[in-house]
Amino acid sequence: MTIRLLLPVLLLPLLTGIAHASNEAAENRLKSSVAEVVTIVKGAANREALIASVKTPLQRILNFSVMTKRSIGPGWKQLTPEQQQEAVGLFTTLILRTYTAKFTPGDCPSMEYKPSSSTAPGRVEIPTTSLYKGSRYDVVYRMEEQNGAWSITDVVIEGVSLVADYRSQFDAEFKSGGTEAVMKALRNSVAQAK
């Protein structure tokens, strides 16, 4: 009886310990990826070489399949497996192209990590402040653990979530023209970004 009463008390430090460990694992994963990207940006000779070599580490840390699914939202379930696969490919190209276009060889923001918080089991939010070309940006990285590996599933810049922003656009397309409209919007965005 006593042990049953004491069990929650005994388990509490253990659970807090687990939460701390997961926070640390996610933080280390993010920090090592940022360090890897920074090394590439600093060592790149020109913009083309930089964009080509930065893609691999970005694809490793960003979970594009989850991001695509969440960005499309309710329309995702209506897509055929082939369309889902195509959508992930297009969305990956779109995000990588949009964000690597901002990179300049040798020019990196200074990042400051704030204490992370575990929002649910297997989910960690890491708030950061980036100082880039004289402007300060608040960026929150939402990370999730899948099969023992941590990856980024959403980025919140100045309070605006990437997934929420794309979801509002794709959902409007889906409501007006169904799955074909979603796929068309994706193909158009990728074609325009070229």
Binding site: W76, L131, G134
Partner: protein
């Protein structure tokens, strides 16, 4: 005798009117007028500025619930907002909740956008994918004081390269 009966009736009528006003105030204020069964889910915001119990919860512009409670999580100082939603609404577990304002100076409300997960949110579950209230003042502040940061950054850069 007849006179006092009339007075009594008037008194009762006034009391009934007051009771009706009180009932409506409470019901409208907390939003319990959403018919049928309801369930509660929590959502975690970094900043729930302007949200208070009774605020509307909208999905595609339709009221699907009300804010029941707003409290602070002492472990990380985030805001935990309890939403009471109509049980007719089945939300995928990766749904998002955002703090929005109707118009420029309008009331704050919570906007829900459903996700794509097969699993649905169960009563008591927590929405972790959220967007907090956009702080206009701090954005204006950043624009106004951006030049100060710039100077500091240039000075820092002259000594050592940025990491």
């Amino acid at each position: 005798m007849k006179h006092s009966k009339l007075e009594l009736m008037t008194g009762l009528f006034v009391l009934l009117g007051l009771a009706a006003v009180a009932y409506l105030t409470i019901k409208l204020g907390t939003g319990s007028l959403i018919g049928g069964n309801t369930y509660a889910v929590e959502s975690r915001f970094a900043n729930a500025g302007g949200i208070h119990p009774g605020c509307s919860v909208l999905l595609s512009g339709v009221t699907v619930g009300r804010v029941e409670d707003v409290r602070m999580d002492p472990s990380d100082y985030s805001a935990i907002v309890t939403l009471r939603l109509t049980s007719l609404l089945k939300l995928p577990s990766d749904s998002m909740a955002s703090v929005k304002t109707s118009g420029l100076i309008g009331d704050k409300y919570i906007a829900l956008s459903p996700g794509a997960d097969e699993a649905s949110l169960k009563p008591g579950d927590r929405i972790t994918l959220t967007e907090s209230a956009v702080d206009l003042e701090s954005l204006i502040g950043k624009m106004a004081f951006g030049s100060v940061d710039k100077e500091k950054n240039t000075k820092e850069n002259s000594g050592k390269p940025n990491p």
